[in-house]
Symmetry: C2
Subunit: 358 residues, 2 copies
């Protein structure tokens, strides 16, 4: 295997010494880049872009050519698994995802197949292999999946939702149906992420985008336990190196202790959490990823740098911090902002790492 030229991201996730704080951006391959829009137009629609390994590789690499990012993330969608289960995913122009079929009953759940990662989902593994080859060891590649709860919200609601009434109705009136669905999804995600790791992903992340809509006592039961099950089933070492796993529940700031207790390596934070407080609460167990409000990238350079400086100071000395936005980058940020952001992190973080590297 090629040695990694820059392994800052993997080392920070394992809380090993680094020279500066690594950074990547959620949705870093995306519509804020004109070259992304061009490739997407070439592909036709969004899922065709995901299904074409060469084009998916191209858009994965695009942000790395512009910005000094410390990791690449597989270009794909969180809804590949439900799509491979046969629910018929589509994206209307300017709209969110829609499923042609939804899950309502126990029979619907029983009829769902567990997708074969090297069968229906082979296009994802092909993208991982292609990207990994083209990265030439520059930076590590992150694989990912949606969490079972988050996938289930789309499968039951039929798409995006505001109040999540259908899945909440299922949760409170048919909890066994929902648990059966979540169990099947946990098994599917485990297979899917392990296949990504075997195909070359050097770290994996689980996005629990909608965990934060759950009641405090439902979160452990309907989201976290299934992520825990996945963590327990993941390949944690490959190619002679640890494969760190990051869990991110948006809106999960009240539950960081429980998330850190799953045995994951890192916990993602959104911008509602003070990273200093998060480190005090769980930083002895896990690394932290985050957590600048993506909207700060609308601000002038000095404001972006101030925010970066505040978050770095909040985390403080030593390793265990992967800088990121608290959610995906917005599509209309000025093209120069990500560079200001990334460079500020590298420049301003060095003195927080000096002591540790002495």
């Amino acid at each position: 295997m090629t040695e990694l030229k820059n392994d800052r991201y993997l080392r920070a996730l394992l809380r090993e010494p680094v020279d500066m704080t690594p950074v990547w951006m959620m949705r870093q391959a995306g519509r804020y880049l004109p070259e992304y829009k061009a490739t997407r137009a070439q592909a036709g629609d969004f899922m065709s872009l995901c299904r074409n390994a060469d084009l998916a590789c191209e858009v994965t690499l695009q942000p790395l050519r512009r910005y000094d990012l410390d990791a690449a993330i597989l270009f794909s969608d969180i809804l590949t698994i439900p799509d491979a289960m046969g629910l018929g995913l589509s994206f209307g122009a300017g709209e969110g995802p829609k499923f042609a079929r939804t899950i309502q009953t126990k029979a619907d759940v029983d009829n769902l197949p567990i997708p074969d990662p090297e069968g229906e989902l082979q296009y994802v593994m092909n993208a991982v292999r292609t990207i990994r080859r083209e990265l030439k060891g520059e930076v590590p590649l992150i694989g990912f999946s949606g969490s079972p709860w988050t996938l289930a919200t789309y499968m039951v609601e039929g798409g995006s939702s505001k109040a999540f009434t259908k899945i909440k109705k299922m949760l409170y009136s048919e909890p066994k149906v929902l648990n059966a669905l979540l169990n099947k999804l946990a098994d599917s995600v485990t297979l899917y992420l392990n296949a990504q790791i075997k195909a070359g992903a050097q770290s994996v992340m689980i996005f629990d985008t909608w965990g934060g809509v759950l009641a405090h006592h439902d979160y452990p039961q309907f989201s976290l336990q299934y992520m825990h099950k996945i963590v327990d089933g993941l390949i944690r070492e490959n190619e002679g190196r640890k494969v760190p796993v990051t869990l991110f529940t948006k809106g999960g700031g009240l539950w960081l202790e429980a998330i850190a207790d799953t045995g994951c390596d890192a916990v993602g934070l959104d911008w509602t959490v003070d990273i200093a407080n998060a480190r005090a609460r769980v930083g002895h167990k896990v690394a932290l990823q985050g957590n600048m409000d993506p909207s700060v990238l609308y601000a002038p350079a000095e404001r972006i740098e101030q925010e970066v400086s505040d978050i770095l100071a909040g985390f403080g000395n030593g390793s265990g911090h992967v800088f990121n936005l608290g959610h995906g980058i917005h599509q209309d940020v000025p093209e120069e902002s990500p560079k200001i952001f990334v460079d500020a992190i590298h420049r301003l973080s060095q003195h927080y790492h000096e002591k540790c590297n002495d």
Copy 2:
């Protein structure tokens, strides 16, 4: 003035002894009731219903005829103030609110008038007076307003939003414009709530529905300080009785200490917060309102009662708890569920109050 026959709600907000835990439901006058739909159809559209004091009174009283609720809440909309400022509020069929004009610049803010509560907003005060008269002292009447930040999100975005990119852009690139807008809104809300109190509201609540989308360091600066300013400017005693004020930031569970420090009487909780934990954090300063997930009302009776029982046990002995949902009641809950909910609270809470009343 008529003596209140049931003042449990006001007493609980002031942490004075009560015989059982009081309850009301956010959006208790609403589409889950067939009689509401009939009155709304009679009014024509939503704003016409708000503007007609007799019909607004009628829908305010409807849920009290069905359920043993301990408070009435003025039927109105949170967007009456921006509408009275001239932004042109409308509700499309099945859609959220839309404003014909939005706020983008300092000049837009400077041109906004501060509405006269007994002028452009007199229809609200007329509704308060009518409802108060028709309540005949059965239970107290709650007045309310949106928070400055929450009102501003609609005024800048032009309606509902998912990512709040326009107002976040303003926050990070033109913070002075936003602060000017929030200041004007704080002054307007103070006048508006004081007018509601003079018209007969016996308690007021500020809904900060979108405070939870702010970064932890922005929340104090762009939402909480303006609610604090309002609390400082409110009439706190009227008709020889205290007028308690409740602040509710949805998604604000990480910031309860700061909310409680404003000098409000009570803090509203959504369902992501464990009420036992909330009481330990701030219950020595304020009462707590909440916090059942509204979706529990989809569940069978036993599940609803279990949830009520768990929340009551979480709060524990003594006064200082107003039971409520963590957000508005859903429009498609079974008609019998609210009765099961309300009756369970009264029945199951009594033994938590015995010691205090000895």
